[in-house]
């Protein structure tokens, strides 16, 4: 819908101008900072002409928690719990960006098993994030039930996460060059079970929503984003993919082990709200596909098997030591297990760990788009500068332009479809 479609038509009577004769006044509605559909603390100062938005200004910073200042006051490892709160719906991604930045600067080698586990957790996290988006987006449109269904399914993934990280939302699981702990025995089976169980739920949701005439009527052709606008504001993620630009860092600049895995990048046609919905739903299926492949390919397999290998090596070492004691010779070197099977790379003391001077800008394809972490290390135990480039920050910047000329109720549909999450905007 273009701007000219919705603005009030001007009645042309010769000699009489409607604007002069009728005393109309614009209505300034101040949406937020506390409003049910601003997804947190955002303030939108909206000028309405009737129900048509004439002007909009976004005021942010209501959740500015000085994350970047905190990084300069604590050690690299101490900063890690804070990262969870930068973007709490998909905090594995922020951790990944941060941890890789340190690893790149320090040149730490990461075992392949770790990369695979990181990939599985990140993709599961993408599903939780998209599920929450699905629920709240439809809540913004006025449908209540999908919200509850989405939360029910998120709990299943939370159970999977809780097994290995011990937390529902704030995981703090990745470490420099490895993980905090290996996955638990049988965890992969749980993930596999989830992968088999979840597509049915997705089918159900799509059956409720995809062809729902009200949803279609409220979303199709609305909030059009094209490539130009994405470049203008730096819009990324499913929003740019819905506009037909296959910009996905997992494909274009593969990190982790995404280059060893087959997956598609869902792309929309028109770049409207409906396309963004469809792209996100398809992405969840792609994530499941990635997880399934990753489970099959993970080096070492289940944690129990790796543990067996580890025990075997330990037993051999014991035996060699005992033998050496008897004979009085040096113990024979025992071949270690494949380093790819380990969940920790180089052994480091995390509390005092400091990378050498250098800088890195690591980027991850988070559920909301391009997430960047710019880190400058000056060789001291504290980072000189950590800058977060949240995807939502740029996605939100495009909202005022998208909204001009649209109806007020469309604000919720368009804003919801951008999938903005405020802590990532304000940091």
């Amino acid at each position: 819908m273009t701007a000219t479609d919705v603005t009030t038509p001007q009645i042309q009577i010769p000699g009489v101008s409607v604007e002069q004769d009728t005393d109309t006044e614009d209505l300034v509605v101040n949406i937020g900072p506390q409003h049910p559909s601003t997804h947190g603390v955002l303030r939108l100062i909206t000028t309405l002409n009737g129900e048509v938005v004439k002007e909009m200004e976004a005021v942010i910073g209501y959740l500015h928690r000085s994350k970047e200042k905190m990084a300069e006051g604590v050690s690299y490892f101490q900063y890690q719990p804070t990262i969870d709160r930068v973007e709490y719906l998909s905090s594995f991604y922020d951790h990944y960006a941060y941890v890789t930045a340190v690893e790149k600067i320090a040149g730490l080698k990461v075992p392949k098993r770790v990369e695979y586990i990181r990939m599985i957790t990140m993709e599961l996290n993408r599903i939780t994030s998209h599920l929450l988006w699905f629920g709240t987006f439809l809540l913004d449109l006025g449908a209540t039930s999908p919200f509850f269904y989405a939360f029910r399914d998120r709990e299943e993934i939370f159970k999977i996460f809780e097994d290995i990280t011990g937390a529902r939302m704030m995981y703090n699981y990745y470490r420099f060059g490895g993980l905090n702990n290996d996955i638990t025995p049988g965890w992969l089976d749980k993930v596999r079970y989830f992968c088999d169980w979840f597509p049915d739920r997705l089918d159900e949701y799509e059956a409720i929503v995809n062809k729902n005439p009200i949803v279609m009527d409220r979303t199709i052709g609305l909030g059009l984003i094209d490539r130009e606008l994405c470049m203008k504001y730096g819009v990324t993620g499913p929003n740019i993919r819905a506009a037909g630009v296959p910009m996905d860092l997992r494909k274009t600049n593969p990190y982790c082990c995404y280059d060893e895995i087959e997956f598609d990048v869902p792309v929309g046609e028109r770049g409207d709200v409906y396309d963004r919905y469809i792209v996100r739903m398809k992405e969840m299926r792609e994530s499941l596909r990635i997880i399934r492949q990753a489970i099959d390919k993970i080096p070492g397999g289940d944690a129990a098997e790796v543990e067996k290998l580890r025990q075997a090596v330990a037993a051999k070492e014991e035996a060699a030591k005992a033998k050496a004691k008897e004979t009085g010779e040096k113990p024979e070197p025992v071949p270690p297990i494949n380093p790819d099977f380990e969940f920790k790379g180089q052994k480091i003391n995390l509390m005092t760990y400091k990378p050498p001077a250098g800088e890195a800008y690591t980027t991850v394809e988070s559920p909301r788009g391009l997430l960047g972490c710019y880190m400058i290390s000056d060789g001291t135990p504290k980072a000189a500068r950590v800058k977060w480039r949240g995807a939502s920050f740029s996605n939100l910047a495009a909202l005022p332009e998208l909204m001009i000329g649209q109806l007020y109720p469309d604000l919720m549909a368009i804003f919801g479809s951008l999938d903005v999450i405020m802590p990532e905007v304000d940091r």
Binding site: N30, G40, G61, L63, K69, P81, L89
Partner: protein, 254 residues
Amino acid sequence: MSNVAEADQTQENKIFTTLQNLLESNGIICSSVDLLYNWARSNSIWPMTFATSCCGIEMMSTSASNFDISRFGSEVFRATPRQSDLVITAGTITHKMAPALVRLYEQMPEPKYVIAMGACTVTGGMYEDRTYSVVRGVDRLIPVDVYVPGCPPRPEALLDALMLLQKKMRKESIKDRRQRAELHKPKVRLGPGEVLLPLGTTDEEFVRWGVQAEGYNVTEMQKNGELELVRGNCKFRHERADERERARKQRTGA
């Protein structure tokens, strides 16, 4: 919600008055009214949808299927403060957000309760040190009834806090509650949008939070020192210019 005018607190609730008379005259009626009153309100706590960050997601989880806050009659999340009894401060409160929270609290009708959910609103949490923008505990702004530690607390913890609040409500008397309400009335009346006042402006002109009002160039005014934006004392009472002058004199000892 900036256009919502400040509540006219002089409006008396007639029911309160009549009931108080009843209470003072007859002890038996007092206890039975209290019983009914406490039973009713402790079982229908309507929270406000106030979620700023991470804890907000857990609050949503609490209302969702697996934890189901509706069992306690509290699933009626009202978006407007006028109809809610409880504000769950789910998430960090920053200096920029603080006036909004205080205003929301003041807009709620008595009896009103606060659950400080999560470490950030209890003490400032991980932002207690080394940050410049976070309020160290929401109890510096509004009175808190139940503190829920955790970062974020699990949904079960929030349910527990709700039950604790119910217990607290059942012990209260309608009379005490009224005295408390008197205590928490705002001391200084604010006009609509009067949050920050440049020096020498009339009451009609004002600069809104974080936004440039018409005719003002805040950056420039700040550069030239024309803008004396005072956030008042800890309760965000933004006094008028003369009151401000007096306060400054007192502070400096002049």
